[in-house]
């Protein structure tokens, strides 16, 4: 056992870090640092820079552009991406639809979609949740009826992240309503967002941001060749995808950056006794506990990766704990950041164009926004259900 990185691993980290520092455009770095909303071109722009370098989908097979890195290298890369403060790589194509097509897609589907996902030609979004189907995802009602060479889709999706930027949506739809189990009769469809009958309606969150949407389907015609895997077997695909989704929710690199940033600016804030806030034991203890949580999460994540490397098995149900802990840490960091500025957390938006401290004003909205993390991608309660059932056998 040795928790130090090997010389080769450290050299790899240095290589990644210096490349990222040299190639991340300053405008993007500043936007991320100031918690500004990122547009479609910001996100795709960064995606394309990485694609050109050949680093945008490290985990994919080499023939489709994967890097052939081992799990530790992949982890280092992800951590550095977060640490440098790059825009997030939107997972819907790279980490969700891509792996699904690699596992379940036909050759024609792989050829048609994977290169465009890789190169950032198409922006993807995810059509899973519905107004009546949140944690109970399998109860979904959006219907797809087979009519000749097409499915006719009717229904509604909700919480569609960045759906307003998307060219394509992958959807779970019900193709057969007469099955005894609700998990049966669900299919996985790829739908072009330009198809007539699709309406996207924004849902503005409490921080004022536009990230999520409702998507309505009104007699939307989808060619049958856009069905992934077998009709009625969509739940198998969905479960496979959810496992992939959870692996990426720890966001350790980004949390490390946020922690370092918080320490730095908390040191510039004055506590009630006139000393820097970082020397106020009450604040300091909270900060340290978060830092220690983050260390424990990082090592736990590495232990799981090490196990994957040794056993060659995909991650088990225990990755749910990475989601639970990772999101709790992200929330704690936003809460402490907001707390660090005290009364200055109240200003939110300038109204007459005069100079305004955008960074400070961004902290409380960010705290509001991050309440989403313990709800999305399977709420933390659902993650506990998963561990309870799959690992503990309860």
């Amino acid at each position: 056992m040795d928790l130090n990185y090997s010389q080769e691993e450290s050299a790899f980290r240095d290589e990644v870090r210096s490349w990222l520092n040299a190639n991340l455009p300053k405008s993007l770095r500043d936007k991320v640092a100031n918690y500004e909303e990122l547009g479609r071109e910001d996100l795709l722009g960064w995606h394309r820079i990485l694609a050109k370098k050949g680093w945008v989908a490290p985990a994919w097979p080499k023939e489709f552009g994967g890097t052939g890195w081992n799990v530790v290298q992949r982890y280092i890369f992800e951590e550095e991406l977060g640490y440098v403060g790059s825009p997030p790589l939107i997972p819907f194509g790279l980490a969700m639809c891509g792996p699904v097509l690699l596992r379940f897609g036909t050759d024609a589907q792989k050829k048609r979609f994977l290169p465009r996902i890789y190169n950032g030609d198409d922006f993807w979004c995810q059509g899973y949740s519905e107004p009546g189907s949140g944690s109970d995802l399998a109860s979904l009602k959006t219907k797809a009826e087979r009519k000749g060479d097409h499915y006719i889709v009717n229904g509604q999706k909700i919480w569609t992240t960045l759906g307003h930027f998307a060219d394509w949506i992958f959807c779970l739809v019900r193709t057969d309503s007469n099955m005894s189990k609700k998990q049966e009769g669900i299919s996985f469809l790829l739908i072009d967002m330009k198809t007539p009958g699709i309406t996207v309606r924004p849902l503005i969150l409490m921080d004022g941001g536009h990230e999520v949407n409702e998507v309505f389907f009104d007699d939307v015609k989808v060619p049958v060749e856009n069905l992934v895997f077998e009709e009625g077997k969509g739940w198998t695909v969905a479960k496979y995808l959810l496992g992939h989704e959870r692996m990426g929710t720890g966001r350790i690199g980004a949390s490390k950056r946020e922690l370092a940033k918080l320490k730095q600016f908390a040191a510039t804030q004055t506590g009630d006794d006139g000393r820097p806030l970082t020397e106020d034991p009450r604040f300091r203890d909270k900060l340290t506990r978060v830092e220690v949580e983050l260390m424990a999460l990082e090592i736990t994540n590495l232990r799981f990766l090490d196990q994957m490397r040794r056993t060659n098995q995909p991650p088990g149900a225990d990755v749910s704990m990475l989601k639970i802990k990772g999101t709790e840490i992200q929330q704690a960091l936003t809460e402490l950041s907001m707390q660090a500025v005290g009364p200055m957390a109240q200003p939110f938006k300038a109204v007459n164009g005069e100079a305004f401290d955008e960074f400070t004003a961004g902290l409380a909205p960010r705290y509001c926004n991050f309440r989403k993390t313990t709800i999305y991608a399977g709420s933390n309660e659902i993650q506990r259900n998963i561990i309870s059932k799959m690992t503990l056998g309860l």
Binding site: M1, T300, E381
Partner: protein, 367 residues
Amino acid sequence: MNFDYNEEQQLLADSVRRFLSKDYGFEERKKIVHSKEGWSDKVWSTMAEMGLTGIPFSTEFGGFGGGAVDLMGVMEAAGEALLVEPYLATLMAGQLVARAGSDAQKKAILPGVVEGKTKLAFAQTEKGARYNLAKVGAKAKKAGSGWEITGEKVVVLGAPAAELLVVSAGTDKGLSLFVVDARKAKIKPYLTLDEQRAGDVSFSGTPAELLGAEGKALAAIEEVVDFGTALICAEAVGAMKFACDTTLEYLKTRKQFGVPIGTFQALQHRMVDMYVAYEQARSMACLACSKMDTHADAKDRARAISAAKIKVADNCRHVSQESIQLHGGMGMTEELKVSHTFRRLTMIAQQFGDAEHHLGRFALLDK
């Protein structure tokens, strides 16, 4: 980076676990705890035969030349079985001899420790000193060719069983270490809450031999207490594993309202949180032991140890408290092992510094 035990470490951990599960069941342990001495000579001899008493000592003295990572599996097994033999006490005091002692002192003391003939204890803590390692009131002064110590030490783990004591005391030049024949000190023995034997030890002009350089003991003491802290983090992982396993078993078998209580989501989620706490503690024990063996400098080591102890202490409390709550009334009784595990986890949480102590230390190291 890797998290594997090597083959030797794996074999050792397996054989210790086998030995303890066969010969150190809850009933056998109870007899040992309530015996006059409070530890078993037979168990101790077997541990020595297995080489456990030699793990962190140089091959020059018959040891294995290992480090904290080599001891992880042993400590984990000790935590699961709630071992009460003075193993940790002997290893820590032995490490002080190994790190501070002269060649002659090492040669005189360590082979006996490795063979299991000599048990040691480290007399450090004093009333009112809490976790401040530099706060030592005991005094030593020269007497002829040797030294004499006067002072009072409290909660000296393993003191009643020890042949030799390693004692910290101040001289004109500062904090120093001494070796004292345990028979020459006055020891008031008692049971600790977690059923180990400890004692308050008083010295009154007691003959002592200087261990290492006079006035330069603090760095060695800090290092060895960090070493002990890493080991009890590993021990805590074993104790938490037992607490989680036995609670899970209880949830699956105990029936109320006609169903196993593990079917209730209110309890399932609490069980999951215990399990996550145990996994997080394991991660931090890995960090502590690994950094103990391969740190860049004392600060790097201390930072990792304090971080580990903060998390382990918090999780000791969480797992132990929840294990009792989920067992209901039966968990409160002496009859179930889980209540004894509760007591050990409670003590580990504040042994060598509680979470608050290490939060303070971590913050200072961060400056």
